[in-house]
């Protein structure tokens, strides 16, 4: 029985991590909390009008029976009424998500700059155009095109505060393999050291510089002179 327990625990541990290509429905609780709440009933899958959501089967790299979607094949269409959320009987898809625009299913990352057409100076712009939160989640930042010397490049830039992770950009990317991918937040996001502070933000908060406007630093001349 102990062996069965350990085996079961090992299998769970192995399949508990979400595959990097699998995204949870909008409003889903994070990681382990989702796995304690989701009863794998598929009501969200049946509620989804676009057949976006699927349930993982045995040995798939997503926890057995839990709902997920793959942005490249069928992205989330971001329904205003969030039917998958309404259908969830347990709260695994949390009722706390009030608007679909606040969803955080993942984060789009322009992961392959060497193949992205815009990065070569072309005006593909498709990811920018299809984004449901247009001009907020993805903006086109202008940069000088060093190759031609006299053109501009319009660099698609993702902003994590507005991106819902719906996956429309990934699906629409015209490359053979997408240059922009939506990744689960745990993978896509970095995290600042907890002790670290941005000087200019602290300055704004305090209303003045915390260490004086001009710093007198020692010049370190061998003579010991400071001037």
């Amino acid at each position: 029985m102990a062996v069965a327990g350990v085996g079961l625990a090992a299998y769970t541990a192995k399949s508990s991590g979400l595959d990097a290509r699998a995204l949870r429905p909008p409003g889903a609780l994070n990681g382990i909390d989702f796995l304690s709440a989701c009863v794998r009933c598929g009501l969200c899958v049946e509620a989804c009008p676009y057949d976006t959501l699927k349930l993982a089967t045995l040995f798939e790299p997503v926890t057995t029976g839990t709902p997920f979607f793959e942005a490249r094949s069928v992205p989330c269409e971001m329904c205003e009424d969030i039917p998958c959320q309404t259908a969830c009987p347990t709260g695994a898809i949390s009722p706390d998500l009030a608007s679909i625009d606040d969803a955080k299913m993942g984060l789009a990352v322009l992961i392959d700059q060497e193949n992205c057409l815009n990065y070569q100076g072309l005006r593909c712009d498709i990811c920018y155009q299809v984004c449901p939160v247009m001009d907020e989640a993805i903006t086109l930042d202008i940069r000088r095109n060093e190759r031609t010397g006299h053109h501009a490049m319009f660099i698609p830039t993702v902003h994590s505060d507005a991106c819902t992770g719906c996956g429309k950009c990934e699906q629409a990317c015209p490359l053979e393999k997408e240059a922009i991918k939506v990744l689960p937040l745990e993978i896509a996001k970095g995290e600042l050291g907890h002790h670290y502070r941005w000087g200019w933000k602290e300055k704004e908060k305090a209303g003045e510089s915390l260490i004086g406007e001009m710093l007198e630093l020692p010049h370190g001349l061998p003579s010991g002179d400071t001037k």
Binding site: M1, A4, G5, L8, A9, Y11, T12, A13, S15, S16, I32, D33, L35, S36, A37, C38, V39, R40, C41, G42, L43, V45, E46, A47, K54, L55, T57, L58, F59, E60, T63, T64, G65, A87, C88, P89, T90, G91, A92, P95
Partner: protein, 282 residues
């Protein structure tokens, strides 16, 4: 010459009466499954979801109390919908007999019944001895592990929900698990899965220990000891007392959570020893 199991009952009571509960059970199992499958297959939404949680006619929620209990132990307080659903399901099985789930609803039962039927037809008698208490240890395990892992651990592999979910959505490699259970029951242990291992059965067993609907060997004085009921019963150990314990003062009521109320003993008995009773007015 000894007649095959159930043949005498067919001679005396006619084919229908000798298979009545078997036919009703298969209709019940198939109807429930079809109602769930009609939605995804034909767009007729009578019931949505699966056995773990569902919504009947867009109004009545149902959820499996066993799965919800695992979720609770894992640290999640479910929303009201799921709680109401679990209360409804609990009440139904509390009355009808917990393991009515096993024999009238569960899709794995069809697989294991087939394995058992084939065993009998092919006269396979070898069976590895296994403690029927494994299910209780597994039930304990499935309710303790979520405490440690924080996830609903048994539902990763539970063949009952896996098969039902798979038939409605997609099965994938889940067929391997179903095939494994079939082979296990067919070749290794008689009534292996349902009678020894399944913790879900154990949960419903506990739930229905004092259920209202019960099989009663009320006419046990007519028993001719043909033993056909023992051959078909998924838990044959429960028959001995109620059938032969009259002189020890044992009740004829099969009053144990082990009984699945499948009614197969009623079918195969040519002497009509058994009947379904309500525990209060019997």
């Amino acid at each position: 010459m000894r007649l095959p199991v159930g043949a005498r009952a067919t001679q005396v009571n006619g084919f229908f009466n000798a298979h009545k509960y078997l036919i009703l059970r298969r209709i019940s199992q198939l109807t429930i499954l079809m109602l769930f499958m009609l939605g995804p297959l034909a767009g007729v939404w009578i019931i949505k979801g699966n056995l773990s949680a569902s919504l009947f006619l867009e109004t009545i929620p149902m959820s499996d109390p066993f799965v919800l209990l695992q979720s609770f132990v894992a640290g999640h307080i479910p929303e009201t919908t799921a709680l109401i659903g679990a209360a409804i399901v609990t009440l139904v099985y509390f009355g009808l007999g917990g393991r009515v789930f096993c024999s009238w609803v569960c899709p794995v039962n069809v697989i294991t019944d087939l394995a058992h039927w084939l065993r009998r037809k092919l006269k396979i008698r070898t069976s590895t001895k296994l403690s029927p208490n494994i299910r209780w240890y597994l039930l304990l395990l499935s309710l303790v592990m979520p405490l440690i892992t924080g996830t609903i651990i048994w539902e990763q592999v539970n063949p009952v929900s896996l098969l039902h979910r798979g038939l409605i959505f997609t099965m994938g490699l889940g067929w391997f698990l179903v095939a494994a259970i079939f082979m296990f029951d067919f070749l290794l242990v008689e009534r292996g899965w349902c009678g020894h291992i399944c913790p879900m059965g154990a949960f419903y067993n506990a739930l229905g220990k004092k259920s209202i609907v019960r099989v009663d060997a009320s006419s046990r004085d007519k028993c001719d000891k043909c033993m056909d009921c023992f051959a078909v019963c998924p838990e044959p150990q429960i028959l001995k007392g109620p059938l032969f314990g009259a002189d020890k003062g044992q009740s004829s009521l099969i009053d144990t959570g082990d009984c699945t109320n499948c009614g197969r003993c009623i079918d195969v008995c040519s002497e009509k020893v058994f009947e379904i009773k309500n525990r209060f007015t019997r």
